[in-house]
């Protein structure tokens, strides 16, 4: 017992010591090496013991102002599954050979504890590879040697950068636990960065201060015919910051959540302005309003949108003979049908003339062309900038263009406006792809800038309608119609178009195991504005001459399975959109049978009618009528609402499995 107390004391001390003592590269303690499991999450495969970043600015006559980012990281590997943390990637930016980021010396060492001794294995320069990721980004890669369960890996590097707008953000949270993480920042008085923080990790240190820095420079004067040269200096009363967090729990992926980047605790920096000695202050976007103006003023954005002469002819030929209500759809259909989306997404217009000529482009090319054409035709249309679900939500106050990766077209109309996306032929006017349904988007406009909710103008609706007749001999026959509307219609349509009608009905046939499916047909496949009707008949003669017949209430699975299998939830649930499902069954019973038992009607809902399920079962003469309605209205749920929504699904699925009992009259 005593021993236990002592041990836990040591562990306690060791876990705090990162904050108090200076952690030196190479000085890995025996305790750290011996420690067998994370104290934050005992089953963790690996753990960040220490992660420290410093960013500060330097000046040189050759390069002017640059920032330096230094990182020192120590990771403990507990299990084999944690070995992957021994593969390191360091990305850096290389715009041209003149302006670039340079990665300084990389130090990397693995430590193992063997026979009471610490054994070090270094990564040599020859083992560090460099790979060009794309035009601008390069990555340095290496693998730590001799990793075993219990190893500690440690590395440090620095990046010297010409791009002051790339000031590195700092993530205080990772997929593995973090014992200590800190970021130290020293910012020149000439630079104004907006801090962007997110996540729920409390800081143990959150300090701000000042420090005077002095920089020297060489000068050469050639005035008055006499050359003089020498060195001089200037100083900056720089702001200093230190943030630190300890014992940070890891983040995990869960179903129905947007990008994990939305939940990670981190601090990022948006450059708002710079005011270097000898040059006037220059503002770089620091608010959405400023970004709005910036983009509208920029040749490559607002300028490009204004140069719509090349569209004049096309627009006038599209709109000729059409009334005011028909034009938007005509323009939308024109872009959608005449242009090919190349599969890429972007935020920027690029070369719109080329897009127009080639009839091919990325999402921004197509949707911005649509904005221009609608404007050309006399409508109020604007771009809406957003982050897609897999990319993450933009900060509501501080803009960062890296957080935006997609543009939609906003068309103002009497009842508020409608969002359009012309990238996919299967999208009807006003329907958005699911990945765009992510909070709010910024309307880039000279007259009405602001946030617009990213909502589709179409519902997600499915109705299952079954008319079933029980024959006197106990066999059952029925007609089924599945009506798929809105985005549900689109997904059925896409499904049928890519796999064919046969495969589609084969899947339905398989889901209706007890029934044989025939006389299949679909309607509304070619017209993306109509609902999709899937018609078929079902029959079953397994109950022939049976005295008792049990019929499941829910012949066809209308609501789907419970998507939530986990017992608990860490992140909020974020459905892309609400939806509704309806199930209608009319059963006709012959004279020689009678209803013995019917399931009970019921209604239940989540607080505030966030979701509701309603089931009514009635008998009227020789008919049994079942109406089931499931509606999900609220799309965003906090983790403490999780058990409620999970139970809701459980209960609904359980209700579906109840049976109608029919008996032969005696």
């Amino acid at each position: 017992m005593k021993f236990l107390i002592k041990l836990s004391l040591i562990l306690l001390v060791s876990s705090v010591s990162y904050g108090q003592n200076k952690v030196k590269f190479g000085k890995v303690s025996e305790q750290e090496l011996i420690q067998a499991a994370s104290l934050i999450e005992p089953e963790a495969a690996a753990e960040v013991l220490y992660d420290k970043g410093n960013s500060y600015f330097i000046y040189s006559d050759e390069n002017g102002f640059q920032f330096v980012f230094e990182r020192h990281r120590r990771i403990k590997i507990y299990k084999k599954e944690g070995y992957e943390y021994g593969d390191i990637e360091i990305p850096f930016y290389e715009a041209t050979t003149n302006t670039r980021e340079k990665v300084g010396v990389i130090r990397a060492v693995t430590y193992n504890y063997e026979d009471g001794k610490t054994v070090k294995s270094k990564v040599t320069n020859a083992e560090i590879f460099e790979e060009q990721l794309n035009k601008y980004w390069v990555v340095k890669k290496f693998a730590f040697p001799n990793i075993k369960e219990g190893s500690i890996i440690e590395y440090s590097y620095s990046i010297t950068s010409d791009f002051i707008q790339n000031l590195r953000e700092w993530e205080f949270q990772s997929e593995i636990p973090t014992v200590w993480t800190e970021y130290n920042l020293r910012v020149l008085e000439y630079l104004d960065y907006q801090r962007i923080s997110q996540g729920y990790v409390p800081f143990v240190i959150n300090k701000e201060g000042n420090q005077v820095e002095t920089f020297t420079y060489k000068y050469q004067n050639a005035s008055g015919g006499r050359a003089s040269s020498g060195t001089n200096s200037f100083s900056s009363n720089s702001a200093t910051y230190k943030w630190a967090a300890q014992n940070v729990t890891p983040l995990k992926e869960e179903p129905y959540m947007t990008s994990i980047e939305d939940y990670k605790a981190k601090i990022g920096f948006q450059l708002i302005s710079h005011n270097f000695p000898g040059s006037p202050q220059k503002f770089v976007a620091g608010s959405y309003e400023a970004m709005n103006k910036d983009l509208l003023d920029a040749d490559y954005y607002g300028g490009a949108l204004n140069k719509s002469n090349f569209l004049k002819e096309t627009v006038s030929s599209i709109i000729s003979g059409k009334n005011e209500d028909e034009v938007p759809l005509a323009i939308y259909s024109y872009i959608k049908n005449e242009f090919e989306w190349n599969g890429f997404t972007s935020l920027y217009p690029g070369n719109l003339k080329e897009t127009f000529r080639e009839k091919k482009g990325n999402s921004a090319n197509l949707n911005l062309l649509m904005v221009m054409m609608l404007r050309e035709a006399g409508y109020k249309a604007d771009p809406v900038l957003l982050g897609t679900r897999d990319h993450g939500k933009p900060h509501p106050i501080y803009p960062n263009k890296d957080k935006l990766n997609y543009v939609l077209c906003y068309l103002e109309s009497g009842d508020g406006g409608i969002l359009l996306d012309a990238t996919r032929k299967s999208l009807p006017f006003g329907m958005l792809p699911q990945k765009c349904l992510n909070g709010n988007g910024w309307r880039l406009s000279s007259t009405n800038p602001g946030w617009v909710p990213l909502k589709s103008a179409h519902k997600n609706e499915k109705i299952v309608q079954i008319k079933l007749t029980l024959a006197e001999d106990g066999s059952t026959n029925g007609d089924v119609v599945l009506k798929s509307r809105g985005s549900n219609g689109r997904s059925v349509r896409n499904n049928i178009q890519s796999d064919g009608e046969d495969k589609y009905f084969t899947k339905i046939d398989e889901s209706l195991l007890d029934w044989s499916v025939s006389e299949t047909s679909v309607e509304g496949i070619d017209d993306i504005y109509s609902e999709v009707l899937s018609n078929f008949t079902i029959s079953n003669d397994e109950n022939q001459d049976a005295d008792i017949i049990y019929l499941p209430l829910q012949l066809y699975d209308a609501y789907g399975e419970n998507p939530f299998k986990s017992e608990t939830r860490i992140q909020p649930i974020d459905f892309p959109s609400g939806f509704s499902r309806k199930y209608l069954l009319e059963l006709t019973i012959p004279d020689n049978y009678e209803v013995e038992e019917l399931p009970e009607s019921t209604v239940f809902q989540l607080p505030g009618r966030a979701a509701m399920f309603q089931l009514s079962v009635n008998q009227l003469g020789d008919k049994v009528n079942v109406v089931g309605i499931f509606k999900l209205k609220k799309t965003f749920y906090l983790p403490d609402e999780y058990s409620g929504i999970k139970q809701f699904f459980d209960l609904m699925i359980q209700k579906q499995s109840e049976q109608i009992v029919i008996k032969k009259k005696s």
Binding site: F129, E340, N342, S566, E567
Partner: protein, 632 residues
């Protein structure tokens, strides 16, 4: 000088002897357009073996794309690496009338990394061009050549590159120096036309007007149904290493030659391992100690550069760094064992649960992985050296039951790896629950995973508590389930075994309507994946692995409840599998038994419908329900 001129003239001839080609869509025979998303108009393949170490491949093809489904044909990717360069690449697009509408400029060709997704570093890269158009149909034409620096393999000719495309014309010409022996194997193609000159020998094949061949599921070696010519070198050379591939034996010799001298472990390192062995003399135990040392001290990191794609890193580099790819880790283990006096063999395999079977009659480079064979008098040991977690000697879906190439001092030869039997691959589920009058239940589930079934759960010990609970909830997928507690036992043997015990509560296990109770007794093990139906199947089908499931579910029911309807016993017996279920009622106890077996094998195409039917019948039987009535 004359010689240079001659070469130049040949090149010119071979590269530009095709004048104006007719790419009008109207000139495609109607029969080819039917069901085709695209038609290969022409596909000219030329491979010139310049020497045993160098070859030039030239390819010019044109594809007419009819609809968006064929879009991917317009996305062109040509791979290259240190040992295979792309010399010229041109691409054009033509409209339906055969008029050129686009010519790709060199600066429009993207250069992208060809990473396989699991390598830390590799020199594989690719040239990429997107030729997609909005208006269908259109025709793309691509022309390029590649220099093969080192000739471990020759390009294959897949005359019909995929099942969705029709082929109007395709040809292959291979020219080799006069005395060079070209090796080839034909599949649904006739013998070549052979021409000889004083300097070289030329083989050519052509194929015309092939309709699309529809994809059929469970066609294991489906490429066998497509016309194709496989090519392989006889003598070859790569980065200074010469070899011969006429036989597996000679290929094995080459493998030996590239790893010669790489068994360079230091005495110190060997001493460390020998100290672990101590006085152990039993060979099997010695191997087990070495394997456990390997699993503790190394990990898999793949670095593929040039010849390094085939040559193992020196054993000393694994000793030093503690990592390596499959070749390095296997060779390292082999070196240790050899120093300990235990002979073992480096073994080449085409690994993967659905990997193509190799053609053992055609010695050539057909492998993607290396592992180790340790022959023993009875029960040879196989070691997967890249895994830190596999049980000792475990051969799973990754490498079992297939032909592999064993390398010994004399060279190489093919052997077949062992397979677990259908009875070995057993998943047993035993459930016992008490049901109360409201249909709620409480009880226990015991699942036992053996042999290949162990692969379902082999990661369980390595995930955290929350993920373990998630796994159990998802594995049983029972509506209303609450997991009370669980425990497990893993036996990492050659036939591994994993037992998972859970105590559970289930809300509404029985659905209650008025006075009736409904229970589907197969609670957690229903068949979900019925094979896709195929109308008029043309190819045979393969069940790669046999397996078995055995279920027992015992329900204890309240006294005032009696069964009203009990499904009849079911037995379904076929060549592919067996299904049996029965229910016994004994006072307050209802017992459900189930057995499901799938037999591995290759079956005729005309048996496929009844195979699907078997699955459907089983799935239906799995959904049967027992009805109880409350007596009040």
């Amino acid at each position: 000088m004359n010689r240079a001129l001659l070469i130049l003239v040949t090149c010119l001839l071979s590269y530009s002897s095709f004048g104006q080609l007719d790419y009008r869509v109207s000139s495609i025979p109607d029969s080819l357009k039917e069901n085709a998303e695209a038609v290969m108009r022409l596909d000219i393949n030329k491979f010139e073996v310049k020497s045993i170490g160098r070859g030039v491949y030239y390819n010019k093809y044109a594809i007419t794309i009819f609809n968006p489904k064929g879009k991917n044909w317009a996305k062109v990717y040509i791979d290259y690496s240190k040992l295979r360069s792309v010399n010229q690449l041109n691409a054009r697009v033509y409209d339906a009338g055969g008029r050129q509408i686009r010519k790709v400029k060199q600066n429009e060709i993207k250069d992208i990394s060809g990473f396989d997704g699991f390598s830390l570093y590799s020199d594989a890269r690719g040239k990429y061009i997107d030729l997609t158009q909005t208006e269908y149909p259109y025709t793309i034409e691509v022309e390029y050549s590649q220099t093969y620096d080192g000739l471990l393999f020759f390009p294959s000719w897949n005359a019909v590159p995929s099942q969705d495309i029709a082929v109007e014309s395709s040809e292959l010409t291979v020219s080799v120096p006069k005395d060079y022996k070209l090796r080839y194997k034909l599949n649904k193609v006739s013998e070549p036309i052979i021409k000889s000159t004083e300097e070289e020998k030329t083989y050519s094949w052509t194929i015309n007007n092939v309709k699309p061949i529809e994809y059929e599921p469970h066609s294991f070696n489906r490429s066998n149904s497509l016309p194709r010519v496989k090519l392989a070198p006889s003598d070859f050379e790569i980065e200074g290493f010469q070899g011969n591939m006429d036989s597996w034996e000679s290929f094995g010799k080459w493998i030996n030659s590239i790893s010669a001298g790489r068994d360079d472990l230091t005495d110190e390192h060997l001493a460390e391992i020998k100290s672990l062995i101590g006085s152990e003399t039993d060979q099997r135990k010695v191997v087990e100690i070495v394997y456990s040392y390997l699993q503790k001290n190394t990990r898999y990191v793949s670095i593929q550069l040039g010849l390094g794609g085939w040559q193992p890193f020196p054993a000393s580099s694994v000793a030093e760094k503690g990592y390596g790819d499959c070749k390095a880790l296997t060779f390292y283990t082999k070196t240790i064992l050899s120093e300990l006096g235990v002979p073992s063999m480096y073994t080449l395999v085409n690994a993967g649960r659905n990997a193509r079977l190799i053609d053992k009659d055609f010695p050539s480079q057909q492998f993607n992985h290396v592992f180790l064979c340790v022959p023993q008098e009875n029960d040879t040991i196989w070691l997967e050296c890249t895994s830190q977690t596999d049980p000792f000697g475990y051969l799973g879906k990754f490498t079992s039951d297939r032909d592999v190439l064993l390398i010994d001092e004399k060279g190489g030869h093919i052997v077949h790896t062992p397979a677990y039997s259908t009875e070995n691959n057993l998943l047993t589920t035993q459930i016992s629950v008490n049901i109360d009058e409201n249909g709620h239940a409480e009880g226990s589930i015991k699942s036992t995973f053996e042999a290949l079934a162990y692969e379902y759960i082999d990661h369980f010990t390595r995930i955290d508590e929350r993920e373990k609970r998630d796994f159990i909830n998802e594995w049983y997928d029972l509506n209303g389930l609450t997991l009370l507690d669980f425990n497990y036992k893993e036996e990492k043997l050659r036939v591994p075994r994993f037992v998972l015990n859970s105590n559970i509560k289930v809300n509404h296990l029985a659905s209650v309507s008025g006075k009736r109770f409904f229970i589907k007794p197969n609670l957690v093990n229903k068949i979900h994946n019925i094979p896709d139906k195929v109308s008029a199947r043309k190819t045979d089908f393969t069940i790669r692995y046999g397996r078995m499931e055995r279920d027992t579910v015992v329900f204890n029911i309240p006294e005032n409840i009696r069964p009203e309807h009990i499904p009849k016993p079911k037995i379904i017996e076929t060549d592919y599998g067996y299904y049996e279920s029965k229910i016994e009622v004994d006072q307050g106890e209802v017992k459900y038994y189930r057995e499901f077996r799938i037999n591995k094998g290759v079956y005729d195409n005309d048996e496929y419908d009844s195979y699907v039917d078997f699955y459907e019948k089983c799935a239906r039987a799995d959904k049967q329900k027992i009805v109880f009535v409350k007596s009040t």
